[in-house]
C-alpha cells in the first residue's frame, strides 16, 4: 500500500502546481487591465483608461503596489507563496481579503455538496439495486426511464420545479429559509443530487446484473442461501467497486453544480460569490474560488482513490496502477 500511496501523492503535486499556474495566469490573460480595474472601482462600467482623475503616477504606484511590474516567474512564485500562507489577495470590490470571503461562504457549499452526495448515493443505490434485482420487469423499465430523465434534466430546472411544487403549491418547505436551517438544505440537495443518483443507479444496476451472473453467485445459491443474502452478501459487495469510483467522480460534478443551485435557491456560498465575481470582473475573488474548488476536488479524488484501495485489496497488495 505504501508504494501506491506514495506514487498517488506524488502525481497529485504536479496537478496542484498546474492548477495554481492556470489560476495565476487567469489574471494575466485577461483582456482588461487589472490595475485600471482596481482604480476605477465603483466608477461605473465601460473600458477603463488612464484619464480624468487617474494620473499615470497613480497607475504606476498601484501597479508597483500589486507587484505587477515584476517579471512573471517572480510574480508566480510570490502568488504560490501567498497561497501556501493562505493569502489569496483582496477583492477589487470592497477590499475584503478573498480568504475571508471564501472561509465565510465555503461551509454552505460543502454542506450542500455533501448533502446532495448523500441523496445521490442513497437514491442511486436503492434504485439501482431494485432495478438490478427485478431485471427485465416493469419495475426495471420504470426505474431506468426515471434515470434516463434524471441524467437529461438540468439540476437548476429541477430546483425551480421543486420550489414550484413544494413551496408554492404544497407549502411544505419554505422557499426562502435561513441557510443555517437544515430544512433549507432539502430541496437544493435533492435538485442537485438527482441527476447524479440517476447515473449511479444505472451503474449499480449493470454492475449488479453482471455480478449476479458470476460463478460465486451460482455457488451461493447452490448451497441454499436465501436470495436476499445472495444479493447483499455476494453480488452487491462485488458490484460496489465501480460505484465508489464513479461516486467519487460525481462528487466533483456536485461541487461544481452548487454554483447554479445556490443561485436558484438564493443560498449563500461559493457559487454566489463566483458569479458575482465574474459579472463584476472581480478577479481575485474568481481566482481564489476557482483555486480552492479545484484543490478541494483534487483532494476529494485522492480520498476516493484511497477508499478504493481499502475496498479492493487487489490494488493494495498488487501494488498495481
Amino acid at each position: 500500500m505504501g508504494a501506491y500511496l506514495r506514487r498517488r501523492l506524488l502525481t497529485t503535486i504536479p496537478v496542484l502546481l498546474g492548477v495554481s499556474l492556470v489560476v495565476f495566469l487567469m489574471l494575466h490573460l485577461l483582456p482588461g487591465d487589472p490595475v485600471l480595474m482596481m482604480l476605477t472601482e465603483h466608477r461605473g462600467g465601460g473600458a477603463p483608461t488612464i484619464s480624468g482623475s487617474i494620473t499615470q503616477e497613480m497607475y504606476d504606484n498601484m501597479r508597483h503596489q500589486l507587484g505587477l511590474d515584476r517579471p512573471l516567474p517572480v510574480q508566480f512564485a510570490s502568488f504560490l507563496g501567498g497561497v501556501l500562507r493562505g493569502d489569496l489577495g483582496t477583492s477589487f470590490r470592497g477590499g475584503e481579503p478573498v480568504r475571508e470571503l471564501i472561509v465565510r461562504n465555503l461551509p454552505y457549499t460543502i454542506q450542500l455538496a455533501l448533502a446532495s452526495f448523500g441523496v445521490a448515493m442513497l437514491a442511486g443505490f436503492l434504485l439501482g439495486v431494485i432495478a438490478g434485482v427485478r431485471r427485465g420487469t416493469w419495475i426495471d423499465s420504470l426505474t431506468m426511464t426515471i434515470a434516463a430523465a434524471g441524467v437529461s434534466m438540468p439540476s437548476f430546472w429541477l430546483g425551480i420545479m421543486l420550489l414550484l411544487v413544494f413551496s408554492v403549491h404544497l407549502n411544505i418547505v419554505p422557499a426562502v429559509a435561513r441557510a443555517a436551517d437544515w430544512r433549507s438544505l432539502i430541496l437544493p440537495a435533492v435538485a442537485l443530487g438527482f441527476s447524479a443518483s440517476a447515473i449511479i443507479a444505472r451503474l449499480v444496476r449493470s454492475s449488479l446484473v453482471e455480478a449476479m451472473q458470476q460463478d460465486y453467485v451460482q455457488t451461493a445459491r447452490a448451497k441454499g442461501l436465501r436470495e436476499g443474502a445472495v444479493v447483499v452478501r455476494h453480488a452487491l459487495k462485488n458490484a460496489l467497486i465501480p460505484v465508489v469510483t464513479v461516486g467519487g467522480l460525481q462528487f466533483g460534478n456536485l461541487l461544481g453544480g452548487t454554483v447554479v443551485i445556490e443561485t436558484v435557491f438564493a443560498r449563500p456560498g461559493i457559487g454566489h460569490i463566483t458569479v458575482n465575481g465574474i459579472l463584476e470582473r472581480d478577479f481575485p475573488v474568481v481566482q481564489g474560488v476557482v483555486l480552492v474548488s479545484a484543490l478541494t476536488y483534487v483532494l476529494a479524488n485522492l480520498l476516493v482513490d484511497l477508499t478504493y484501495t481499502w475496498i479492493d485489496p487487489r490494488i493494495r497488495f498488487g501494488g498495481g496502477t
Binding site: 502525481t11 504536479p14 496537478v15 496542484l16 498546474g18 492548477v19 492556470v22 489560476v23 487567469m26 490573460l29 485577461l30 483582456p31 434516463a148 430523465a149 441524467v151 437529461s152 434534466m153 438540468p154 439540476s155 437548476f156 430546472w157 429541477l158 425551480i160 420545479m161 420550489l163 414550484l164 408554492v168 449493470s206 446484473v209 453482471e210 462528487f251 466533483g252 460534478n253 456536485l254 461541487l255 461544481g256 453544480g257 454554483v259 447554479v260 443561485t263 436558484v264 463566483t274 458569479v275 465575481g277 465574474i278 459579472l279 478577479f283 474568481v286 476557482v290 474548488s293 479545484a294 478541494t296 476536488y297 483534487v298
Partner: protein, 306 residues
Amino acid sequence: MTASISAEATLPPSLDRGIDERARRGESQTRIAMRRLSRQPATMAGIVVLLTLAFGALAAPLLTPYDPAKLSATEARLPPSLSHPLGTDHFGRDVLTRILYGGRVSLRIGLIAVSIGATIGVTLGAIAGYRGGWIDEAISRVIDVMLAFPGILLAIAVVAVLGPDLSNLMIAVGVGTVPGFARLVRGQTLAAREFDYVTAARALGCSHAKILGRHILPNVLAPVVVFATLSIAGAILAGASLNYLGLGAKPPTAEWGLMLAEARDEIRRSWWLPTFPGLAIMLTVIAINAVGDGLRDAFDPRLGRR
C-alpha cells in the same frame, strides 16, 4: 472502416458459422452499424424528436405568428390557451415562440462547443497516444490539470477570462469537453498503434502524418462519434446552466436557460413559465442521449445494455 473480408465467404459451410454477418455479406462496418441502429426503437424515437426540434427551430418564423422579443403589456402572463398554447411571459411574449427560437441557440451551443472540444481533444489525444514519450507526458499532465476543475467550473473559469457572452460561452463549454476527447483518443490511439496494419504502413515508409490520418484516426472514429454525440447533450446542459447564471446570452434573446432565469421570479404567478423551457431542454437532451446510446450499441454490440 471498409473491412470487407469477402474472401472468407468461400469457406466451407461448416466453418462459416463462426464468421459474422459482415463477412458473409461483404458489408462495411458503418452499414452494419446503421442497420443495427434502425432496429432500436429508442434511438429512432430520439432521431425523430431531434429532427422535429431542429425543424421547429429553423422554421420558427413560418410556424408561429408571434415575435420572440416583441413586448406586449396587454398579453402578459396569459396561461396556456388556444392562441398561446404554452402561455405568455411577464412581458407578454409567446412562450412557444420563444422555445422554438431558443432551440436555435441551444442546438448551436451543442454543435459548436463540441466541434471545438472534439477538434482540440482529438488532436491532443492522437498526438499523445501516437508519439508517446515526453510529448505524451506533457499532454497528459495538461489534461490532468483540466480534469482537476470540478464539473462546469472549468467552463466558468474560461468565461471569467473571456468575458460573459454567448460566443465565449460556446468556447468555454467546448474547452470543458476537451479532456474527455483527449483521454478517449489517446487510449484508442495507443491501442491502434500496435496493430499490424500500422506496422505495415510504417514498413511501407508512410509518414507519421499519413499513418495517423489515414490509418489510425479512421479506426478510432467510432468511439469518438459516440462520445461526441453524448457530449452534445452535456454541452447543451452546461450551456443552459451558464445562460441561467447570466454568463452567456443577454436579454431579450430567446434562450432556454435565460428563460428559466427570468421565470425563477415568476413561479408564484405563472407555473407555465418555468415548466416548458425546462421540458424543452430535457426532451432535447433525452433525445440526444438516446441517439448516442444507440450509436454506441450499434458500433460495439459488446458494450450493449445487458
